[in-house]
């Protein structure tokens, strides 16, 4: 077992090297865990919707709970206009949740602890929301950057500030998820290392911390998936119902 706490984040190739047009498209452990989470989601929902019982079994109960949870969240934050985007937000939430949760298993790899993964998702959401906003409102969407009731003198300054605030959305969205996952997993490894180096005499305290941190990490894994999904809803809400 490596003692370096950052060793767990290394991406390494599984199987042969594949290069297409100068890009390294080899199958890595990151790809493996993305596939695993996709299969796990499909498996759970397949088992949950296989037979529709009046008294649900566990899988059906879980699927229905998640469905209700997401449907309620979208309705509360983005209103009924956001119903057509339910499949996207549902898949997004499930994917982030399962990547986070699979990362909690020992010896596994946390896909969401890499900023490139979260940044790509965030930029995709950002571009999609912007395009939806322009489709729904035309150039009226630009009113988002011009708040009403501002004196003419301050308007250029405020507009620039609003644009920076808008552009910071994908950054804050991706950095939050990535930083939380990476910090938590590094901390777990550091405390795990303390247990080994302090031995039988002093190792019990960091072991207790490790147990507590594991619980906290599971909470964070869920919360970050939730925050990622709810922020997508909030951005969608801005695009669908222009408030300013």
């Amino acid at each position: 077992m490596a003692t370096n706490p950052m060793h767990q984040f290394q991406v390494h190739r599984i199987g042969p090297e594949i290069k297409i047009a100068g890009f390294d498209l080899s199958f890595t452990n990151a790809s493996l865990f993305m596939l695993l989470s996709a299969f796990a989601i499909c498996g759970l929902l397949f088992l949950g919707t296989k037979e529709k019982k009046i008294i649900p079994d566990k899988f059906q109960l879980i699927s229905e709970l998640i469905y209700n949870f997401i449907a309620k969240m979208i309705n509360d934050t983005a209103g009924s206009k956001a119903k057509p985007y339910f499949p996207f937000i549902f898949s997004l939430f499930m994917f982030v949740l399962f990547c986070n949760m699979l990362g909690m298993l020992p010896y596994s790899f946390t896909v969401t602890s890499h900023i490139i993964v979260t940044l790509i998702m965030a930029i995709f959401i950002f571009i999609a929301v912007t395009v939806i906003g322009f489709i729904k409102h035309g150039f009226g969407y630009l009113k988002l950057f011009v708040p009403s009731g501002v004196p003419i003198v301050l308007l250029p300054l405020i507009t620039v500030i609003e644009i920076i605030s808008y552009l910071s959305r994908p950054v804050s969205l991706s950095v939050r998820l990535f930083a939380n996952m990476m910090a938590g997993h590094t901390m777990l490894k550091v405390f795990g290392g303390f247990v080994i180096s302090l031995g039988m005499l002093g190792g019990w305290l960091p072991l207790g911390f490790s147990v507590a941190l594991t619980g906290l990490e599971i909470l964070v894994a869920f919360l970050q998936a939730y925050v990622f999904a709810i922020l997508t809803c909030i951005y969608l809400n801005d695009a669908l119902n222009l408030h300013h």
Partner: protein
């Protein structure tokens, strides 16, 4: 007359109790509070970073190092505080 009043107050007490109970059942309220707490910090930092990066790029375009970067750093800070105010407003609306 007295009997119907009695019934009305009893009904009100019962519905209030039910409402309280369903509010207590609403666990995602708690989750969203913790979610907001996680949100605030990165909102502030991200806007400052984005502002500074925009200033840096514009500096390279117009050859005005380092003035635009400094200017956009302050604009970014303002945007960060604006972000935090927006999130805080949303939290208050929910209550």
């Amino acid at each position: 007359m007295k009997g119907s009043d009695n019934f009305k107050t009893r009904l009100k007490i019962a519905t209030d109790k039910l409402k309280k109970h369903s509010n207590n059942l609403n666990n995602d309220e708690n989750a969203s509070f913790m979610g907001s707490a996680f949100k605030l910090g990165t909102e502030l930092v991200a806007a400052v970073a984005v502002g500074t990066i925009i200033g840096f790029i514009l500096d390279n375009w117009f050859d005005t190092k380092p003035w635009l970067m400094i200017f956009f750093f302050f604009l970014g800070s303002a945007a960060g505080i604006l972000n935090v105010i927006k999130v805080a407003k949303r939290m208050q609306e929910k209550e």
